[in-house]
């Protein structure tokens, strides 16, 4: 989605430059431009095709897809029967699963801000190099495969009696979401004029009120971006969610999709769940575009 934003910013030559500098061709269909559009087209197809397949299987009768030797790329007829079966079956895991996913995702997003704001504020008050170094250290958990830490974490959760609870899944996923949040927010805090906080302190605000009364309201775009990124990360995350879920109650949507394809349940249920799980992500991504460009992102990268 970031690549999309950048490609949407064409290098428009000014009228003056067009006559004096033939380097920028006025012809939009020059050879290099055609190549560019070709690359963009291939890339888009590459990323969109799996999503197309999911929706194709989701909205086409099983006889053309799962039970067909040569499934067509264009659906002969559309149907809602798969979704109906998946969602309203007698013991469909859909509703509890959806509920759990939402619960965990909002927990992860909220906790990321709760911890991320003071952490990022503190880091942003250190020197830039130190802040950048420490923020990088936070990403250690993201650098190793989730599965290698999921097992020891599970053992700890069993010890303290949290294993299988939504909170345990949320806390584990927070390990992945928090570094991203802190990284974004450190950049946002560093982008603010330092005298603003000094002014608030002189005006009688303690450190806490200076932070939440005068600084935090100014980085709302970064907060929204951080919350949504954490939310989506949790929504999509399956490793921690699979290891830590309680089989007796319910699992998150990605885990149910995984289980549907690997034994329990039918592939159509998996596909139907996939269709539904994709929708909020698509909506959020479109929404996020607004916040993931320009100064907010630049502030995050500046380090």
């Amino acid at each position: 989605m970031i690549a999309g934003t950048m490609a949407a910013t064409p290098l428009e030559p000014t009228p003056g430059a067009r006559t004096s500098a033939p380097k920028y061709s006025a012809n939009r269909f020059s050879l290099s431009n055609i190549g560019l559009y070709l690359v963009i087209g291939v890339l888009s197809l590459f990323f969109l095709f799996p999503i197309y397949l999911i929706f194709l299987i989701g909205f086409t009768s099983q006889q053309y897809t799962i039970f067909s030797a040569r499934p067509p790329l264009i659906p002969p007829a559309l149907t809602l029967i798969n979704l109906q079966q998946a969602l309203s079956g007698a013991n469909s895991p859909f509703l509890p699963s959806m509920y759990l996913s939402l619960e965990v995702a909002f927990f992860v997003g909220g906790l990321a801000l709760l911890i991320g704001i003071p952490t990022a504020y503190g880091l942003s008050r250190l020197g830039r190099r130190l802040a950048y170094g420490l923020t990088t250290v936070l990403f250690v958990v993201n650098m190793v495969p989730s599965i290698t830490i999921a097992i020891p974490i599970s053992v700890e959760f069993i010890k303290i009696g949290l294993y299988g609870s939504p909170i345990s899944i949320g806390i584990a996923q927070e390990l992945l979401a928090l570094p991203v949040t802190v990284f974004l927010l450190v950049g946002a805090f560093q982008g603010l004029p330092p005298d603003l906080e000094n002014q608030a302190r002189v005006d009688g605000a303690g450190r806490f009120r200076a932070l939440y009364g005068s600084l935090v309201p100014l980085i709302v775009p970064a907060l929204v971006a951080a919350f949504l990124l954490s939310w989506m990360l949790s929504w999509d995350e399956s490793t921690f969610a699979l290891i830590l879920y309680n089989p007796a109650s319910s699992a998150t949507l990605p885990v149910n999709i995984f289980l549907a394809f690997t034994g329990r349940g039918s592939p159509t249920i998996g596909v139907a769940f996939s269709c539904i799980a994709t929708i909020p992500v698509i909506i959020l991504t479109v929404f996020l575009q607004k916040y993931l460009k320009g100064e907010d992102l630049a502030a995050g990268v500046r380090g």
């Binding site: 603003l196 000094n198 608030a200 002189v202 005006d203 605000a205 309201p217």
Partner: protein, 342 residues
């Protein structure tokens, strides 16, 4: 006079740059004190140490006799206006001015009446509901001032608050600021690099150079009786003029301002005019003396470049120092302090 603010042997260093070198200074209650100095001389740092934004490396700062050296900013009951005004961009004008009151948990009705009072005093009643990025630079400066005075602090710190204004607005803002300070009767500590502001605003001015107050006193003293040649050069439209001087073994330089000398045919000194600049109703003449020294003179009549003019010095100050009249420097590179003689 009671002492409002006291610097007691305050020292502050950034890296290996000494911005405050053992500064000791008392500022009286109700005084308009201007810290004057070129850019990068640590003027703002002094102010920020009073505000509690920076802590000194050594020494103490007292407000009303109380040691505040390490007290957090919000416990000092001071007001500060930053150079860029630091208005809260997410709040409108009213909420900006109300912010210090809200921090002290004033009841809402009292906040409204106090903000309206101060807005009336500063003539910004009409813009109270505007966003701070929708108002002019002059209005922003008033909002910053309003926010500073709204909760009646007794010490105001102002960090070049006029430097972001257009020349025309700055002129009006300067006189209003002086009037405001007289009305409030409170202590103002004002930092600037603009000597005109120091001249117009200050009761006393301290000129800071190499982390020290090179001279402290009424602005007219800085002009008429500069303590060092550096002050003589820094204060005034043009640098002070110097002539070698020698008497009974002592060597030094006579310093005089252009208007202390009179261009007249019966003058006993002479110089050749190199440049003539018309300023208002007189001309500045940049001249070279026979020994190669360059001096500025003033003449009411225009004089052609290349002519030789005669002048006599009616008033002067004396700087002791090396053979060329330089005030000289001590080992650390700081100018020595010599009491001026008339």
């Amino acid at each position: 006079m009671t002492v409002k603010l006291r610097f007691d042997r305050v020292t502050k260093q950034f890296g290996n740059r000494l911005v405050a070198d053992d500064i000791t200074l008392d500022i009286d209650a109700g005084e308009f004190f201007v810290i004057l100095g070129p850019s990068g001389e640590g003027k703002s740092t002094l102010l920020r140490m009073v505000a509690g934004i920076e802590a000194p490396d050594a020494g103490r700062i007292f407000i009303d006799g109380k040691d505040v050296t390490y007290l957090p900013s919000n416990k000092r009951n001071i007001a500060m206006v930053f150079q860029n005004y630091a208005l809260y961009p997410n709040m409108n004008v009213f909420r900006n001015i109300a912010f210090p009151l809200r921090m002290q948990y004033f009841p809402p009705e009292e906040i409204v009446s106090k903000v309206q009072d101060v807005a009336k005093k500063l003539g910004i009643t009409e813009i109270l509901d505007r966003r701070v990025n929708q108002i002019s630079g002059g209005q922003q400066q008033r909002v910053a001032l309003a926010r500073a005075i709204v909760r009646n602090p007794t010490l105001f710190l102002l960090d070049e608050p006029l430097s972001n204004l257009d020349a025309r607005v700055r002129f009006a803002a300067r006189s209003e600021l002086k009037k405001l300070q007289k009305d409030l009767g409170q202590t103002f500590l004002f930092v600037t690099h603009d000597q005109k502001e120091a001249e117009v605003l200050s009761d006393r001015t301290g000129v800071i150079h190499h982390g020290r107050f090179e001279q402290v006193g009424p602005f007219s003293d800085l002009y008429d009786r500069p303590a060092t040649r550096w002050i003589g050069d820094f204060v005034g439209d043009v640098p002070m003029n110097y002539m070698p001087w020698q008497e009974s073994g002592a060597q030094g330089a006579l310093g005089f301002r252009p208007e202390w000398a009179e261009v007249t045919p019966d003058g006993d000194e002479s110089a050749t005019v190199q440049v003539a600049e018309r300023v208002g109703d007189f001309s500045y003449l940049l001249c070279t003396m026979a020994n190669g020294w360059r001096i500025y003179l003033r003449s009411l009549r225009s004089v052609d470049v290349g002519t030789e003019v005669h002048f006599k010095v009616n008033r002067h100050v004396f700087f002791k120092g090396g053979p060329d009249g330089d005030a000289g420097t001590d080992e650390s590179g700081r100018p020595e302090r010599h009491p001026p003689t008339n």
